[in-house]
Symmetry: C2
């Protein structure tokens, strides 16, 4: 039944040899790798405004300055990653770059940061995507959490089925989003600059309570919130192998395009938010408000919302490729449980996909599907991995002999320094709003990595087998606990007799009458092995049997004692409640006893 | 660790030979067997008043008439049970009497009714006991549910430890309750009749909204509610063997005393409630109100409340003897899972005790610990078992040759008829308030009894072994799935080699490189058995192995295929997450495969 369910949900398995890479044109690659980065436009401006709003409507004007600094930071990071693309043409994720250049521990910190980040990418993107839908259809607002969980379930199943990062699937929604955003910006700015008539957003008149003064701390906090716009910029440098030859120049060109599009959209939306005087609101996103103001609530408005929701779904989907892949790399190095390194039926890392689905669903439940509540946790991991990756690159250039070495060091050094400073700003300004969780979680994860690694190393040492150690001959006895004479017992004894010479049936006598009956039956049946009766004045079946095993081990010097039980396999699950209770207890008790093997000989009931 | 916890909670085990019966004097027997019946005085009057109150304060006066009829009914039932005592000197519970005289199905109906009734006795008595405490200490009122659950946990553990129905433990609280109640009644009535000065209860002035007219239906409903006073009257007839010789006359004398005390207390309390004009209230019991009015809130008041709470605790405790005992009788007849018939370490039927604790806790949670909410479910089971038991007695007298046969038939016939009519009244007037649950539950239980019985009969047929069927010789192969060469595999192969001549190591090849390494290692090690490599293009370890087993069975005509796995037993529980995943999957998949035995050879890790 489970197998059937699995086949319906996941589909037929695929051969290992079907594992192949599609080589993408730059146009398709841009779509595949930039959905995460571009989609952050959907919430980055809003997060800046939400932070500034604490100081009242007048403070909202600073959004332009902050967006400008974020744009500069984005250009620096993009330049920095261009260099990674050329230095690591086979793919330079932060885990690999940091591990190779800075050492294992830095690699693990980057790995932990990225794993946390991928989980948050799913949660944040899905939450923002659902917000785009509930902004268009406010009637759905009470079902935010449910919609988000359904979306995660959908993506998880789709990925277990083995959705490829197929260019064709990604291209349409990505370019639809980019296209519709540029139309929105063009029409909005055009009406404002040339044609007049761009009205204020309805929320412009709403009261915005002033909860505090406009401090430098608040400005830095708004900047830190807006830095969510940079998440996903590193995606191309991870996936260089998917580009056509020559891979590095193609990837670099695509990265430049992506950065250009992202900066334009982010600045455009922030300017539009400013000129329409949008106030951030809990029930409608900033993008939705702008689109309503520019287009009215017509077809173009719904197109914008649909495109936003779709690209956010795609952004979440990219984590479903990245998280399991990184988890498998870490697991192959022995820092995570091995089963995360196995490819499942559909060639995907199924365990990693399921883990990601569960963790992000948990975040959605804890934070009730609200983007704004998740954002403080988000950017810490991203900027930590940026910083480590760029620092690793600086080390890379310093160690080897490269032309233009100084320029390389300068660019990556600038990247490392600026992302490092931003990391500190983010951790400090958002610490009490949730960043502390990630600040604690990352070292905890690194510690767990080492606990796992140490265990695997210890076990490997313990299990090492010298080739001179041949299989030994073993002296052993088989004990068959017997409560009655029946087909199941007969089957077990037949099996036991063909495995060993020394088989003993043992009866734990709780009720003397029953024991006498059993003895008589045994004699009549005469299976050729002795029936040993042990009295149990305390009615326990377990303890007398354990004592008997101890005695055999001591007196007869057995290497192994095998306890062989007849176990009923009923036809229906509820019948389990009517059988096997003593067998279960016995198995549980003997599981931790050394030199003891418990064998269940299943008897399949027909009724 | 679990063993230690068990020892602390439950204590050391007892020998079967320690199972002995204490013979009780009539005085002690009265205490042991009547706590259930006498304790119902604590809530019976209140339930009558609560029903009448729906028709406004004027209707409360009918409580006297209703109490009078209930007293007559009680006398009839007591007379009827006197006859059972003489006819069944070894104990005549409703299950046995109905089964012997009316047939198995009637016995099962009585058994189901009693089991339901015992669970409800615990829930109702505990709820009423907690109400006695919260009436005295209103600050505890919000913790009603918690207090009730703690009380059930306490009684459950005490019974698992093997509390005997020791006369000495029971005597003090029972006679304290009876004594204090009689003092309350004497002082109250004395002040009213002779000395004057008995004031009205504070609640007498409270408004009582009139929710309906005083119909015959309402009167019958009030009567049905008051019939809770009769619960527990049958206890003495179940426990005759605990009396001193001559058992029947002693038991009959005790029953008469109990009925007399119960009738006096019940009528006395109902009269006092009437003359103090108590209005029933959600936050304070009727008994508590009467005691406050008669004594004031002084030491005597607190004594009454304490004695009431204690006897209710004892009443709940009697079900902890009755329920497991009846369940074990039904289980021995094959109608309930066998483990309910086993005596545990402490000679008690531990599984029945645990089941009772869980079911009554569930009722407390569902009904939020409110006596009044539980009462509609209560009396149906009791009166059903009364009716069946008395009808069985009528049949008993009709079948045999007895002196005074006509008188016996008349008395038990009157008992059967009157309890039968009351049963219909209770089921009808309280149907929508909860009685429907029990009306559905009892037939459902009887159906389940038969499902269990049928299964056991079928299995017994299936397992029957002719003595001519000796253990057969079996042709079998041992397969050892191998992923690497290590100590655990070496141990498993040593074990396998000493069990069978035909042992094959099987490697499922998922990654060709790893397979080549393994082959080389195997050759170097040379354990004396062949390594069979099976390619798995779909990376599943399970399916190729299953196909291989199929092939062996088909081609070589094996009777049994044994799959032998090395299983790691880690030192710490969390390490389980790092091992054995494939082994678990394999075991689960092979569990339902016929002619296949899975053997886990445990390798105890040192790290």
């Amino acid at each position: 039944m489970l197998q059937t369910l699995k086949n319906v949900l996941i589909g037929q398995p695929l051969r290992t040899s079907q594992l192949a890479h599609e080589r993408l044109t730059n146009l398709k690659a841009l779509a595949v790798f930039s959905s995460d980065a571009l989609s952050s436009v959907a919430y980055a401006t809003e997060e800046i405004l939400l932070a500034l709003a604490l100081a009242g409507p007048a403070a909202l004007g600073y959004s332009l300055t902050i967006a400008f600094f974020i744009a500069i930071l984005l250009v620096i990071v993009a330049l920095s990653y261009r260099q990674t693309i050329f230095a690591y043409p086979s793919g330079g994720g932060a885990y690999i770059v940091a591990k190779e250049n800075l050492g294992t521990n830095y690699g693990l910190v980057a790995g932990a940061a990225l794993l946390v980040d991928y989980v948050l990418t799913v949660a944040v993107s899905i939450a923002a995507g659902v917000a785009a839908i509930t902004s268009a259809f406010p009637i759905l607002h009470p079902y935010t959490e449910l919609l988000a969980l359904l979306a995660i379930a959908f993506i998880t199943i789709a990925n277990l089925r083995g959705v490829r990062e197929s260019g064709s699937i990604f291209a349409a929604p990505t370019y639809l989003f980019v296209g519709s955003m540029f139309i929105l910006i063009a029409v909005g700015l055009g009406r404002w600059l040339f044609f007049g008539g761009l009205t204020q957003a309805p929320s412009a008149n709403q009261d915005l309570p002033v909860l505090g003064g406009l401090t430098l701390f608040l400005l830095l906090r708004a900047f830190a919130s807006g830095c969510a716009a940079l998440t996903g910029v590193e995606a191309i440098s991870n996936g260089i192998q998917a580009f056509k030859e020559p891979v590095s120049p193609n990837a670099a060109k695509t990265l430049t395009w992506m950065a250009g599009i992202l900066v334009s959209m982010f600045l455009g939306i922030t300017i539009l938010a400013h000129v329409t005087s949008v106030h951030p609101s809990g029930s409608e996103t900033v993008i939705s408000q702008i689109a309503r103001t520019v287009f009215g609530t017509g077809p173009l408005y719904y197109l914008i919302q649909a495109a936003t929701a779709m690209i956010l779904l795609l952004a979440a989907n990219t984590s479903y490729a990245d998280f399991p892949r990184l988890a498998s790399l870490v697991a192959k190095d022995g820092f995570l449980p091995r089963q995360l390194a196995n490819r499942g039926d559909k060639l995907v890392f199924a365990n990693g996909i399921i883990l990601l689905g569960m963790l992000s669903s948990l975040l959605i439940v804890i934070y009730r599907g609200e983007t704004h509540a998740l954002i403080p946790l988000y950017a810490v991991g991203v900027f930590l991995s940026f910083t480590l990756s760029q620092s690793g690159m600086v080390r890379h250039w310093l160690r080897g002999k490269h032309s233009h070495r100084f320029l390389h060091v300068l660019i990556n050094g600038l990247g490392a320094a600026s992302t490092g400073i931003v990391l500190v700003v983010i951790a400090a300004t958002k610490f009490i709003h949730g960043a502390w969780i990630v600040v604690l979680l990352i070292p905890l994860l690194v510690w767990l990595f080492w606990v796992v690694k140490r265990h695997y190393i210890d076990i490997a040492d313990e299990l090492r087998l010298p080739v001179t150690e041949k299989p030994k001959s073993i002296k052993h006895t088989i004990i068959v606990p017997v409560a009655g004479v029946n087909q199941a017992v007969a089957q077990t004894i037949s099996y036991a007799k063909c495995l060993a010479a020394d088989v003993r049936a043992v009866h734990i006598s709780v009720e003397p009458e029953q024991t006498e009956k059993l003895k008589a039956k045994w004699q009549a049946w005469d299976p050729g092995i002795p029936l040993i009766v042990i009295k149990s004045p305390y009615r326990s079946v377990l303890n007398p049997l354990l004592h008997y095993i101890d005695r055999i081990e001591r007196r007869e010097g057995d290497d192994v004692v095998t306890v062989m039980l007849a176990e009923f396999v009923p036809r229906r699950w509820w019948q389990l409640a009517l059988h096997n209770q003593s067998a279960l207890l016995l198995k549980a008790a003997l599981h931790f006893r050394p030199h003891t093997v418990v064998v269940s000989v299943p008897y399949h009931l027909k009724h």
